[in-house]
C-alpha cells in the first residue's frame, strides 16, 4: 500500500475512534496539557505500530492496547513525559460532562483517581461496555480474574466514595 494511502486510512480510523483515545487520556492524565501530550504520544505510538496491524482483532481492541500500554508505561518517567498525580492534586473539574449530578460524579472520578493504573484500565473498559472476552484480549488477564477484580473494584469505589 502506498504511504499516502496508509496515512489517509490511518487518519480515518483515528477520527472514527478519537473519543476512545480522549477517554484514555482523561483517565490517566489530569491536566489539559498532560492530556494533550498523552494524546499526541498515543497517536504517534499507534502510527508506529500501524504497519503491523493486520485486522486480526477489532481496530478498537488494538487501539486500546496501544493507548493503555502508552499511558501505563509512559506515566512514570517524570522528566521525559507526564508526571502521575496524587488524587488530592486532581483539578476540581475533571471532565467536560453535561453536568447535572456533578458533585456526585466528581466524587466518583476522585475515587477512580485513587485506583491503581490497572484498576483504572479495567474500570474504563467496563464503563465502555467492553465484554470480558475483549477485556481479556486487551489486558491479557483471564476472564475469571477480571470478574473477581471488577467486583473488588466496585466495592473499593463504594468505600472510597463513602470516605470522601
Amino acid at each position: 500500500m502506498q504511504k499516502q494511502e496508509a496515512e489517509k486510512e490511518f487518519e480515518q480510523h483515528i477520527k472514527e475512534n478519537e473519543l476512545l483515545i480522549y477517554k484514555v487520556c482523561r483517565m490517566y492524565a489530569h491536566t489539559s496539557a498532560d492530556r494533550k501530550d498523552l494524546f499526541q504520544e498515543i497517536v504517534i505510538q499507534l502510527w508506529n505500530a500501524y504497519p503491523k496491524f493486520r485486522g486480526e482483532s477489532k481496530f478498537s481492541t488494538w487501539l486500546y492496547r496501544v493507548a493503555l500500554n502508552t499511558a501505563i508505561t509512559g506515566l512514570r518517567k517524570k522528566k521525559d513525559f507526564i508526571e502521575s498525580r496524587e488524587p488530592s492534586q486532581l483539578p476540581e473539574r475533571i471532565g467536560e460532562e453535561n453536568a447535572g449530578r456533578e458533585e456526585e460524579l466528581l466524587q466518583l472520578y476522585k475515587a477512580i483517581g485513587q485506583l491503581s493504573e490497572i484498576e483504572k484500565a479495567i474500570v474504563m473498559l467496563y464503563m465502555e461496555d467492553r465484554s470480558y472476552e475483549e477485556m481479556e484480549e486487551i489486558l491479557g488477564m483471564s476472564q475469571v480474574n477480571l470478574r473477581v477484580k471488577m467486583n473488588r473494584i466496585k466495592e473499593k469505589l463504594r468505600q472510597l466514595t463513602k470516605n470522601n
Binding site: 508506529n48 492496547r65 496501544v66 501505563i72 460524579l105 491479557g140
Partner: protein
C-alpha cells in the same frame, strides 16, 4: 453513587475535543516518551563513539604514521568500537521495548525482561571497560613510555593491585546504587503491576 450509574453518563459523555487536532500533523511529530528518549541517547552515543577515532586521526593528520604506531591510539579505537557495539545492542533492546501493541500484561512482562537484560549487560560492560583500562595501564609501559604510567609502575605491585581491587569493589557497589536509583524504582513499579494482573 454506584459505578453502574456513572456508566451511562460516561457513555453519553461528549468530551470537548480540540477542533484543531490535525491527526496527520500529530503522526509526524517526534515522540517524547521515555523509550524514544533512550533511543535518541543511544543513537547519539553510537555516532559520537564512531566519529571520535576519525576526529583524532584528523587532528594528527600531519603525523599520521606515528599515530598508527601508538598503542594508546589503537586501545582507544578498540574502546570506541566496543562502545559502538554496546550502544547498538542497547538500541536494539530499547527498540523492542517500543512495541506497544501487545496485550498490556505481556507488554509489561516484556518490558521488565528487557530492562533487566539491559541492566545486566550494562554492569557486565562496565566491568569489561574497567578491566580493559587496568590491563592497559599495566601493559602499555612495556611498549611505550609515559611519565605518569612510569610513576605508577614505580609503586609496589601490592599497592597497584590493591588499588585496582578497591576500585572494582567501589565500582560494584556504586553501579548497583546508580542502577537501583535509575531503573530499580521503575522495574519494581512494572513488577507490581504485573503481579496485580495475575
Amino acid at each position: 453513587m454506584e459505578l453502574e450509574e456513572l456508566k451511562q453518563t460516561w457513555k453519553e459523555t461528549t468530551i470537548t475535543k480540540n477542533k484543531n487536532t490535525d491527526i496527520m500533523d500529530l503522526m509526524k511529530q517526534k515522540s517524547y516518551g521515555p523509550i524514544a528518549a533512550l533511543k535518541r541517547e543511544f543513537r547519539k552515543q553510537i555516532t559520537v563513539m564512531a566519529l571520535l577515532p576519525l576526529f583524532l586521526l584528523f587532528t594528527t593528520i600531519d603525523d599520521i604514521s606515528q599515530i598508527f604506531n601508538n598503542v594508546l591510539f589503537w586501545s582507544y579505537v578498540a574502546f570506541c568500537a566496543g562502545m559502538v557495539i554496546f550502544g547498538s545492542a542497547n538500541y536494539r533492546i530499547v527498540k523492542k521495548m517500543g512495541t506497544m501493541d501487545g496485550m498490556v500484561r505481556y507488554n509489561l512482562e516484556q518490558q521488565i525482561g528487557l530492562l533487566e537484560t539491559r541492566l545486566k549487560w550494562k554492569l557486565i560492560a562496565l566491568r569489561i571497560v574497567l578491566l580493559f583500562f587496568v590491563v592497559l595501564v599495566e601493559v602499555v609501559p612495556y611498549f611505550q613510555h609515559y611519565r605518569m604510567l612510569d610513576k605508577w609502575h614505580s609503586l609496589s605491585p601490592l599497592i597497584r593491585f590493591g588499588s585496582y581491587a578497591a576500585f572494582f569493589v567501589l565500582q560494584y557497589f556504586l553501579s548497583r546504587i546508580v542502577s537501583e536509583r535509575k531503573f530499580g524504582g521503575h522495574i519494581k513499579y512494572l513488577k507490581a503491576l504485573v503481579s496485580e494482573m495475575r
